[in-house]
Every structure is written in C-alpha cells, then in structure tokens.
C-alpha cells in the first residue's frame, strides 16, 4: 500500500485564506506573550511586566466588572444562590425572571438562534428610550456572539459577484483591520476612503465620492461601513454628517453597516451620540423607508467591558423580509450566542433603576476613578475622560507627537512625526516606521501599542493607537514608560 503524504500542505490551503495579510498588531501581541513568558521564567528586563494598550480589552487591562451584572449571571448559573440573602432582591428577581426565559430553566440550554425573546425585547425597549421614542421592533434585533460576528453574517449575505459585479464595501481609513480582512475573506472588495485628520477625523463627502468614482469599472459598491464613535479616531459624528452619509447611501444605493459599539462612551464637551437609526427615521421618506441599515453593539465595550462573554447584537432597519429569512437561516446554522452573554446584554439594556436595591452599588462600583466622579456622568466614563486628559497632557510634552482630541470611544490615535533617519532605519529593516517604533517600545519598555500601518493612514504619516480604558495607575505607568522611550527614540534618530 502506498501512502501519498499529507493532503493539506501550504500550497493546498484555500488561496482566499492564504492571501489574508497577518495583522501587525497580532505580531506584536504574540511577541508580548513571549516576553511575558520570558519574564515569568526569570529573564531580566528593564520592566517588570507587559502593558497591553493595543487591544480594547478593559477587564484585561484591570478594569473591574459591575457587581450587579456578575451577581445576576452567577445566580443564573448556580440557582442555589437565589435562596441566599447575600444577594440583593433585584438581583434575585432579575435572575429568576431570566432563568424562566431559558429552555428547561437552564443557561445550559440553547436559545432560539436569534437570541432569547425576552432579551431581544429588552434591547428594543432600550433603543427606543435611547432614540427618544423612535420605534424599535425586537423582530429586527438579532443577538449574536459579538458585534463582529453579527457584521460578518450580514456581509455573508451581502457580498457576491465576480469582476465588475463583485461587491465593493466603502471602508474608512483609519479603521480596525478586522473588518477590512472580513470583507476580503468573504469575497468582497474593500474601498478605502480617507478621514480628514486635519479636521479632527471628519468624514468628507468629496472623499467618499472619490472612492466611489475610483471603484467604477472595478467592482460594484453596495455597502458603506462606518464606526461612530470612531475607532481609532475617537471622533463623534455630528447629526449633519450622518445625514450626509444617509443621503449618499440613498443616491448610490448603499447598504449602511454601522458599528456603534462605543455609543455609551462619549466624553467630548458639547458632543453627544446620535444613532444612525434616529437620524434616518427623523429624515422621513423616502430615506426612512428605503435606506437599509444594520447597526451593531456589544457587551464588550462601554461601561461593562465584558469582552470574554462574547455577546452583541445587530439591529436592522428596512431589511427585506425575504433577506431577513436568509440571514436568520445562516444564523440558525451557526447556533445561538452564549446564554450567559445574553444575560449580560439584558442588563446592559435594562440596568438597575433608582429605587432598586442594587442601584447605589451599581453606581458606586462604577467609580474606580481617582478623580471625584461627576454627579451626572458615569464613573467609568470619568475614568476614561481622565485618562484621555492625561494622555493628551503627556503627548503635549513629547516632541514630534500631535493628536486630534478624541470625543468618544476608548482609543486615542497619536500622530508620530518621525525623523528621516528613523524612517530610513525602519525601511532598511523592512518594517513600516510606526511598526518599528512599536517593536522597540515593546522590547525596551514592555508597552504593546498598535501601529498606524495596521489601521491605514495617509502615505508618509505614522501613528500610534492606544486603548486607554484602564485603571489610572496602570495608565500612569504606561505613560511613564512611553515618555521615557519616546525621548530616547527621538534622540537616537534625531
């Protein structure tokens, strides 16, 4: 008998998979893991640990969970706790009610693939409150294993065609690379459009139109993706800008995919989050009856930061019922989101209210900030606003660093004005200059930041993405290391 050797070798890997570029941040994060292991094994380095600011994982960075959320989830998992006086009455009531919604009264059972009906209703009610009464129908809310999974399932249905009929998707630059990679992997063509750094990362209609013109003859633009509040830009879009996007979507027949996961973290003075859905509804017909919108949100971001639970949702507007059936059927084949995550989503949608037993704790627990918390603002938002201020103060003292003050989100995107020598040195090593900067920052100070080359940037500009929803003491230590490194780096390559 002859064996033919291994069937799946590199040359036999699906070429669509093979051509997906490796993210530079992934390389840095892998190296950060190695350094941590080296430190654990006793290696001597100029720093005691690695601080990761390349990922928006706030619990990983040391932020504390919300007690109410955790108590309800613990009681759902171990219902013995329902009989304990140690948990507040509203925790027990909520857990009891949610368990009653689970098949077999167990979070170990599957839910309907689109999520628990009761949680979908909670989400719809919260969106209706958010949007000042604009109707939200729970039938249009699909609970998924996170906002990215939700977006990918919409893309799966939306993307098709070959050659000039291949689906093009307008994608802002800069933008987290995960979305662009998903468009490639699912057979679409990302169509980048540049945000205006000089004007505070605003979206410019002319640039969108330029991107559409460039796409002609190359593919068929059928969707526009946007992130508001922006990641990594921290820009919060104005109502007027959203209206402009919606008008363009109507004129050009574009499906709107909107990532609104940072809707609860807006801290800019005179800025508030306005949802695409609210604006679209308020624009009235023909817009409100024709423009198709998918907006995602997640328990991973904002004040809860429960990334490890893997749960989010998408809300659709103007989705064709037949298309909805196809998306539902894709979702059904891949199964429901984790039930514990759905429980967390219910709490995100309907947190304790004044008068509830947990309300005081709920507020107190959300005060990890060393600054006195404002009466009206969420305490985690205070920490974030404080951190943003501290990063800006530090950046103001760094030569060759500029930034656009962020108004929301959990990131700040610093521009690095690197010297010719630094750029040449990086190129000699075959590295993008900001990746070169990040690699040295990691090796010399144990700080893992995201290089701008991973997110897209105008040629000849270089950036650093920092995720800063973290305890203030960790932030100070990170800033101390960054400052020390930056001065050294600039001196080395002056």
């Amino acid at each position: 008998m002859a064996t033919k050797g291994k069937v799946l070798t590199l040359t036999e890997v699906n070429p669509m998979v093979r051509c997906i570029p490796t993210s530079k941040t992934d390389i840095l994060v892998r190296r950060a893991g190695e350094i941590t292991r080296e430190l654990e094994q006793g290696a001597v380095k100029p720093f005691p640990d690695v601080i990761i600011v390349s990922s928006g994982d706030s619990h990983g960075a040391g932020m504390q969970p919300i007690t109410f959320v955790r108590q309800v989830m613990a009681a759902c998992l171990y219902p013995e706790l329902l009989h304990s006086d140690r948990l507040p009455s509203d925790v027990r009531q909520r857990a009891q009610r949610l368990l009653g919604e689970c098949e077999g009264s167990s979070v170990g059972s599957y839910s309907c693939p689109l999520g628990l009906d009761a949680v979908r209703r909670s989400v719809a009610e919260s969106l209706q409150r958010r949007d000042g009464g604009v109707i939200s129908d729970s039938d249009n809310i699909f609970i998924q294993s996170g906002s990215h999974v939700a977006l990918m399932r919409v893309l799966k249905v939306l993307l098709h065609g070959e050659g000039v009929s291949q689906t093009g998707v307008l994608v802002p630059v800069p933008c987290h690379p995960r979305f662009t990679q998903a468009v490639w992997a699912l057979g679409g063509v990302p169509l980048p459009f540049q945000l205006s750094e000089e004007r505070g990362w605003v979206l410019e209609r002319e640039e969108l139109q330029r991107a559409l013109r460039d796409a002609r003859g190359r593919c068929s633009p059928r969707a526009l993706y946007f992130v508001n509040p922006g990641n990594p830009t921290g820009h919060v879009q104005s109502r007027e800008s959203i209206e402009e996007v919606i008008r363009l979507a109507a004129e050009e027949s574009l499906f709107l995919l909107v990532d609104e996961v940072y809707q609860q973290t807006v801290f800019g003075v005179d800025r508030e989050f306005v949802s695409y859905k609210k604006v679209l509804c308020e624009m009235g017909p023909p817009y409100s009856s024709t423009v198709q919108l998918a907006s995602v949100h997640s328990v991973s971001k904002g004040f809860m930061g429960e990334s490890g639970l893997r749960c989010g949702y998408v809300e659709f507007m103007n989705l064709d019922p037949q298309v909805k059936k196809h998306i539902s059927s894709i979702v059904a084949k891949e199964g429901c989101a984790p039930i514990i995550g759905q429980i967390a989503l219910d709490i995100m949608a309907a947190p304790p209210q004044p008068g509830d037993a947990s309300y005081t704790t709920f507020r107190a627990v959300r005060s990890p900030c060393t600054q006195p918390p404002g009466q009206e603002r969420q305490a985690s938002l205070d920490t974030l606003a404080h951190n943003v201020r501290r990063v800006q103060e530090t950046a103001d003292g760094l030569p060759g660093v500029s930034y656009q003050p962020p108004q929301g989100g959990i990131t700040i995107f610093l521009r690095l004005h690197l010297s010719h020598r630094a750029v040449e040195q990086a190129k000699a090593l075959g590295l993008e200059p900001d990746l070169f900067y990040c690699m040295r920052l990691l090796e010399e100070e144990g700080v893992c930041a995201g290089p701008g080359c991973d997110l897209g940037q105008r040629e000849g500009t270089y950036h650093l993405r920092l995720c800063i929803l973290m305890p203030t003491d960790s932030l100070e230590e990170m800033l101390r290391r960054l400052k020390s490194f930056h001065h050294r780096f600039m001196q080395d390559f002056c």
Copy 2:
C-alpha cells in the same frame, strides 16, 4: 435627489447563501415554537405542552446541570463567592486557579484566540489519559465556540478550487444536515456515502470507494467526515473499521475530520469508544506520520450537556505548521471562545477526583435516573441507557417500526415502514413521507421529532430521529404520545 430603493433585495442575496436548503427540522422547530405560543395564549389542544426530541439539547429537555461545574463558574463570575464557606474547598481552589489564568483575573477579558493555555493543557492531559498514554500536545488543541465552529474553520482552510479541482468531502448518510450545509456554504462538494442500516449502520469500505469513483471528473475528494459514536445512528465504530478508514485516507490522500462529541456516551454492551487518534498512533508509520486528522469535542454533549455555554475544541494530528498558522490566523480574526465555556471545558477535562470535597456530590448529582445507578457507570449514562431501553421496548410494540439498537450517542433512529397510502398522501401534499409523519405527530401530539429526509436515507426508506438524553418522566410522556399517534397514523393509512 433620487433614491434608488433598497439595495439588498432577495435577488441581490449572495447566491451561495440563497441556495442553501432550509432544514426540515428547522421548519418543525419553528412550528413547535408557534404551537407553544398558541398554548400560552390559551389555545385548546390535545396536549398541554410541546416535547422537543429533534434537538440534542439535554438541559432544554430538563436534564440537570452538574453542581461542581456550576459552582466553579459562578465563583469565577462573582469572586466574592470565593470567600464563602458555602462552596466546597475544591470549587474555590479550582475557581481561584482558573481566574489566575485570565487576563486581569476576570472572565470578562479575552483569552488568546486559541483558548486559555491552562485549559488547553488540561484538555491535552485528559486526552493522553483517555488514549492510554498516547502523547497529546496542547499546541495542537484549539479551543473554539463549539465543535461545529471548530469544524467550519478547518473547512474554511481546506476547501477551495472550482470545477474538477473543487474540494470534495465524503459525508456519511445519514448525518446531521448542518455539516453538509457548511460544506456547500464554504464552497465544497459533499460526497455522500451510505452507511449500512442492515448491518447496524456500519461503514463499508466498498461504498466509500464507490463514492470516490463517482466523484472522479466532478471534483477533487480531499477530506472524509465521520461521526463516532454516530449521530443519528448510535453506532460505535470498531477499531478495525477505524483502521480501514485510516488506510483509505492514506491511500486516497484524504484529510480526516472526525466528530467525536459523543465519546463519553457509550452504553452498548461490549462496546467502547476508541479514538481515531489512538488508532492512528498505534498503526505506526507511515500512517501515524502522514494521515492528517482533526477531531472535535464539546461541552454541549455527554454528561455535562452545557450547550448554552458554546465551547468545544479541535485536536489536530500531523497538521503542517504553516497550515496551523493559517488556521490560527482565521481563529484570531474571529476571536476567542467564551471564557465561561472554557472554564466548563477545564472541568470536563479534569473532573473532581476521589478524595476531593466535591467528589461525592459530583457523583450524586449525576443520578437523575429513577433506576438504581450502577456502581461503575456514570449516572447520566444510566439514564441514557434506560431511555434507550424504554424506546426500544416501545418501538417493539409499534407496527411498521424497526431499528438498529444504538450503542452510543444520544439519539435513536427509528425506521418507519409506511404504507403505500401514507406515502401517496404525503406526496400529494408535496412532502417527504417522514416529514409528513413528523408534522402530524407535532400537530396532534405536540412531539417535535426529526424526519429522516433531513439526514439522508436510502430512497424509499423513512426514518425518525429522537434525541433521548432527557429525564425519564419526560421520556415516558413522549413515548405515550408517540405510541398513541403511531397507532392512529397507521390505522388512518392502512
């Protein structure tokens, strides 16, 4: 300004998505949901509730969770519980240890995309114990959001090509439709091969070879999928049969994809589960060094039945390191499995041992069976074996029903010998005969079972799939209704 109307209409849906057939079981499950709502709204029907036996969701069917599992997860979510004497010492130790493995000591943080290192090591150690010392390396274990997700990610890398070079995947018949649909959706060609019902659903080499011959000129067969213990057949494959499959895989250069999620639920006399990996290793070179294998398992099945947590894993053997990198990178883009599910997986891999504080409870809680539990066998397995016996006893008394006694898994696949009149009546309604049977069973008795047409069967044969890991009282009620319906149905169409 002119708006062009909706962009995403049915005709614009990705044709690959549009052509995925709707599963008949999904139609039945949807109808079951409607009936439940009708009952809740006061509709009068000949039954008080719907019993679902079409899905392998044991908690949904009323099976109880394992206390130790739930206590550890609750303590991880709400670490205040670590200071409570109400939880056994080994629960607190386990939770403390696992929390220490999480970034920021929180299950709300992300893990590495392949899973928590400590849990991957636990799994590797458990597999090494299972396989009598055959080496398992945690580097080859990728933790994923369930066994199906794990399989799909392997398929994503494996499937490619067009026309005759399009990847063919051998798929047993009968088989859960989800896998076949995933092959279609990811651009492969399922190549069905029929299992021999007459011989107890064994796999026949000649039939596999027939399927390969038929594929020539149509596509390139590059993988073979098998489920052991079988779903829905309940067949447990012998070592000799596994060896035969491995030899064929070597000769024909096929990647082996093995679903071994029912490995802990074998109850047939003189039958034991032997893993593909163990057999492959024991066959020695060239097999053990060339045949590529991916085997999946999950916390959803077996004695834990924690489907709602969404966690499983794949273990690779002989995977090319470069290919592994590509699979890792796909996984990285879609994020880690839920951390709470990973905690459950750790417990599945390393349950309490004799001497541990929870050991007695662990055993006692696993005794929901009304039969006295055997000293050596797991109690949930006793329930299952009892249920299998009861279904067989009932089936023996039903005219026109035959079956092959299952030896493992959680399903029984009954053959329905329907009358010519029943078949004609179904066809007149445009329905497959066993779907017709299932629809009437659901409407008349509130029992939702899986029709054989969804799983594949020899032409002219009809079947019923029942998932029977459920409390014995629910099983008895289901059998009572099935019996009553079946007699009526056979009489109506005699």
